[in-house]
C-alpha cells in the first residue's frame, strides 16, 4: 500500500491550532477521568497554569499530560521494533552507543587551504573522530578565488578551493584511509569530489577503502539555502552521475547527504524539515532508478543530515520518526529488499539559527541541550556549534569547547549506556506518531504536484518555510516565544569574546597561487579536457570520468563550472511576493 494517509494535520506554525493528527481519539480511562475531576480541576481553580496553551518550538500544541489513552492503537513491534530491526524507530544498530560512540565531526573551514589543513590536524589531535570541510561562498557557487564576484568573499565562510592543488594542500598529511571526510558542497559537488578522489589517489589511498560524504543535495539548495548554479534537471543529472559512479567505483562513499539542516535554518518547523528532506530523498531515489539502477544497488549509501533545535522532545520525536518513515518508504514504496537500504543513517548539527549574538556564553548551554537531543535521537555523527558562531567562524578556543561538549556527553552523562532511552514515554511516542502522520500529509501534497522538482519550481516548500519563519519571528516579538538575552533577560553589554577575523590577505594569496597554476600547468591538456567535458555534458553520459580528467589536468573549479554553465544555463528562483 502506498504511504500517504488522507488525514488532516497541523503543519505550519499556527499558535493555538489544534493538532488533528488523524490518530485515534484519546480515550481516557475512568481512573484518568476521575483524576481530572477530583484532583486536577480543584488544583487548577487554586492555581491556574502559567499560560493557556503550550506549544513546541514549531508551534505544535502540547497536552498537559500524556497517558496510555494517547497511545490507543500503539503496537510495539509495528511502531517501534527492537533496535537494529525494521522499522528502526529505536535505532539502526542493535547496541547503538554501547558498541560505538557517534562520530564527532566538527564542520571546519576558513581562509586558505593551509589555514584549514592546520585546523583539521588540530581537531584530530583533540580527539575529533571524523573530518568535515566547509567551503567559502565562491567555491560553493563555482567561482575561482580570482573571479570578480569572489571579491570580499574569499575564505570568509569556509576554505577557498579552486583547484586540485588547493585540495592537495587542504588534505596534506591527513590519514584518508582511516578517517572519514564529509564535504559540504552542493552545486559543484561532482567537481570537488573529483578533486578529493584524485588527491586521495595521489597520496596513495585506495578508492575502494576511503570513506566519507559529499553533501551533494541540490534540492534543498533550491528550497532553502539557495546556493544553486544550474537549473534543476541538469543539477539532478549531476547528482545521479555521482551516485551511480560512487556505487561502482567508491563503494564506501556516501555520495549524498540529504539535508534538513538548512531547511530548518531557513525557518521551517520540525515537521517541515523532516517532510521536505525525506521527500527530497524519495525524489533522488526516483531519479536514480529512472537512470537504470536498482534501488538496492545505491540506496544503502544514501545518508541524511538533520538539525538539532532547542525543543528537546520535539527533536527526539523527529529523529525517531525519520527512521520509521524512511524504512517504510524504502520497503513499501520502492520495494527495497536489502535491509541496509531501509536505514536512515544521519548526521546532526546543532541549530546555528538558535545561537544568539547577545550573551554568547549562553550558546554553550543551548548547544549542549541540542546535542543531547541528537544523542537521545540516535544520531550517527554530530557537529556542535561554537559559542561565537552567531558572529563569525569559530576560533580554535571556541571550537575546542564545542568538541569537549560532545566528549562530556559521551563520557560523563550516562545517556549512552542504553539504547533509545526515551522509548515508551507516552509523550515522546505520541509526538513521534504525530510527526510521522504530518510527514505523510506533506508527501501526499508534493506527490500530487508531480514530485519535489515541480513543487519547488512553483515555490511551494519555500513559501511554507517562509510562512513558518515569519510566524515564529512574530511570536518572538510578541514574547510568546522567549529567547534568553534577546527578548527577555536582556543586558546592555558589548560582545565579550574575541572573534576570528579573516582579512583580504587570504584572497591575495589565493589569487597568486592561481596565477602560478595557470602558468605552470599543461594548458593544451586543460583545454582538451574542458572541451571533452562540454561535449559530454550535452549528451547523457556519466560526467564523472570527464570531470576527473579535467581535475587531473589541473583545470580549475571555475573553468569547469563555466563549461557547464555554458551547456546547462543558470537558474533563477521564482520571485518572492
Amino acid at each position: 500500500m502506498p504511504l500517504g494517509l488522507s488525514i488532516e494535520v497541523s503543519k505550519g506554525y499556527k499558535p493555538g491550532a489544534e493538532v488533528e493528527s488523524g490518530l485515534p481519539h484519546r480515550q481516557p480511562s475512568s481512573a484518568e477521568q476521575r483524576w481530572e475531576d477530583e484532583t486536577l480541576k480543584p488544583a487548577l481553580r487554586e492555581s491556574p497554569e502559567r499560560q493557556e496553551k503550550f506549544t513546541t518550538l514549531s508551534g505544535v500544541p502540547i497536552q498537559r499530560l500524556y497517558t496510555p489513552a494517547d497511545l490507543a492503537k500503539f503496537n510495539y513491534s509495528q511502531d517501534l521494533g527492537d533496535p537494529g530491526d525494521y522499522p528502526y524507530t529505536r535505532g539502526i544498530h542493535p547496541t547503538m552507543y554501547r558498541g560505538r560512540i557517534w562520530t564527532m565531526r566538527q564542520f571546519s573551514g576558513f581562509g586558505t587551504p593551509e589555514d584549514t589543513n592546520q585546523r583539521l590536524h588540530y581537531l584530530l589531535k583533540q580527539g575529533q573522530t571524523g573530518l568535515s570541510i566547509a567551503f567559502d561562498l565562491p567555491t560553493l557557487m563555482g567561482y575561482d578565488s580570482d573571479h570578480p564576484l569572489a571579491e570580499g568573499e574569499v575564505g570568509k565562510c569556509g576554505v577557498a578551493v579552486s583547484s586540485l592543488a588547493d585540495m592537495e594542500t587542504l588534505l596534506g598529511g591527513l590519514p584518508l584511509e582511516r578517517v572519514t571526510t564529509s564535504m559540504t558542497i552542493n552545486s559543484p559537488a561532482a567537481i570537488i569530489w573529483a578533486m578529493y578522489l584524485v588527491a586521495a589517489e595521489k597520496s596513495g589511498a585506495d578508492w575502494k577503502k576511503i570513506s566519507g560524504t559529499t553533501q551533494n543535495d541540490i534540492l534543498k539548495e533550491y528550497i532553502a539555502q539557495k546556493e544553486y548554479i544550474f537549473p534543476p534537471a541538469p543539477s539532478m543529472r549531476l547528482v545521479v552521475d555521482t551516485i551511480t559512479f560512487g556505487a561502482r567505483e567508491v563503494p564506501r562513499w556516501n555520495p549524498i547527504s540529504i539535508s534538513g539542516y538548512h531547511i530548518r535554518e531557513a525557518g521551517s518547523t520540525a515537521v517541515q524539515e523532516l517532510a521536505f528532506t525525506l521527500r527530497d530523498g524519495i525524489e533522488y531515489v526516483e531519479w536514480v532508478r529512472r537512470a537504470g539502477m536498482e534501488v538496492d544497488e545505491f540506496a544503502p549509501r544514501l545518508s541524511f543530515f538533520f538539525n538539532a533545535h532547542s525543543d528537546l522532545f520535539e527533536e527526539v520525536a523527529k529523529y525517531r520518526a525519520a527512521r520509521r518513515i524512511w524504512a517504510r518508504v524504502m520497503r513499501e514504496r520502492f520495494g527495497a529488499k536489502n535491509p541496509r537500504s531501509w536505514l536512515c543513517r544521519f548526521h546532526t548539527q546543532t541549530a546555528g539559527c538558535s545561537l544568539t549574538a547577545q550573551q554568547p556564553y549562553n550558546n554553550v548551554v543551548r548547544t549542549t541541550l541540542q546535542a543531547l537531543a541528537a544523542v537521545l535521537g540516535g544520531t550517527q555523527s554530530l557537529h556542535t556549534n561554537s559559542l561565537d558562531e552567531a558572529w563569525a567562524l569559530p576560533t580554535e578556543e571556541a571550537v575546542t569547547l564545542a568538541l569537549r561538549t560532545q566528549q562530556v556527553l559521551a563520557s560523563e552523562s550516562g545517556v549512552t549506556h542504553t539504547v533509545d532511552p526515551l522509548a515508551g514515554s507516552y509523550f515522546v511516542e505520541r509526538l513521534t506518531l504525530e510527526t510521522e502522520r504530518a510527514c505523510y500529509e506533506y508527501f501526499q501534497k508534493i506527490d500530487s504536484m508531480g514530485g519535489m522538482v515541480p513543487a519547488l519550481e512553483r515555490g511551494y516548500p519555500q513559501k511554507e518555510i517562509h510562512d513558518a519563519a515569519y510566524a515564529y519571528q512574530q511570536a518572538v516579538e510578541r514574547k510568546e516565544k522567549i529567547i534568553v538575552g534577546v527578548n527577555d533577560y536582556v543586558t546592555e553589554e558589548k560582545c565579550p569574546i574575541e572573534l576570528l577575523v579573516i582579512d583580504e590577505s587570504v584572497a591575495r594569496r589565493q589569487r597568486e597561487k592561481l596565477e602560478q597554476l595557470r602558468r605552470k600547468r599543461d594548458n593544451a591538456r586543460v583545454q582538451a579536457a574542458l572541451e571533452s567535458l562540454g561535449s559530454a555534458a550535452s549528451t547523457h553520459t556519466n560526467l564523472m570520468p570527464y570531470i576527473l580528467e579535467c581535475v587531473r589536468a589541473y583545470a580549475t573549479l571555475g573553468e569547469m563550472c563555466d563549461v557547464l554553465r555554458g551547456v546547462f544555463g543558470t537558474y533563477e528562483e521564482p520571485p518572492f511576493r
Binding site: 571579491e151 568573499e153 570568509k156 565562510c157 547577545q358 517562509h466 515569519y470 520571485p575 518572492f576
Partner: protein
C-alpha cells in the same frame, strides 16, 4: 480623503550568499506595515542594487548581508548611490555585522545597522522616522 504616499523600500541581497530568511522576513514586515517593498532577489551586484534604487524611485534601501563581505560591498553601494545623485535615499543594513565595523559603515553612508536579534518593529519604526521626502503620520 487624501491617501498618503506610501514609503517605497528596496530590499536587496548582495554578494554570493543565499541565506534569505532575514531579508524575506524584513520585506514582509515592511509590507505588513503598509510600505511598498521591492525585493531584488539573490546575488545582486552593487551596480544592480544602485540602479534598481534609481529606477524604482525608492525612499529607502535595506541591505541584508551575512557573509562577512560587507566592508567590501556596502561602501561600493554608497559610492554608486552618491555618483547617481540618490544619496538622500535612506540606507539601512542588517545581518552579521560585528560592532567594530559599524562606525566605518556609517561613515560610508549607512544610516543604521541592525545586528542579529533586531526586531522587525524596530526596523519598521526606524525606516518610518528617517525616510526623507515622505510625510510621516
Amino acid at each position: 480623503m487624501m491617501t498618503e504616499p506610501r514609503i517605497r523600500v528596496l530590499v536587496a541581497k548582495p554578494g554570493l550568499d543565499g541565506h534569505d530568511r532575514g531579508a524575506k522576513i524584513v520585506a514582509r514586515a515592511l509590507r505588513d506595515a503598509g510600505m511598498e517593498v521591492i525585493y531584488t532577489g539573490l546575488r545582486q551586484t552593487p551596480e544592480q542594487i544602485a540602479s534598481a534604487a534609481l529606477q524604482e524611485d525608492v525612499d529607502a534601501i535595506g541591505i541584508s548581508i551575512l557573509s562577512g563581505a560587507h566592508n567590501t560591498i556596502i561602501p561600493r553601494i554608497c559610492e554608486l548611490l552618491r555618483s547617481q545623485g540618490t544619496e538622500d535615499v535612506l540606507l539601512v543594513v542588517g545581518g552579521i555585522i560585528p560592532d567594530e565595523d559599524i562606525a566605518g559603515l556609517k561613515q560610508a553612508g549607512v544610516a543604521e545597522v541592525f545586528q542579529p536579534g533586531a526586531s522587525t518593529q524596530a526596523i519598521v519604526e526606524f525606516v518610518r522616522k528617517n525616510v526623507k521626502g515622505v510625510p510621516t503620520g
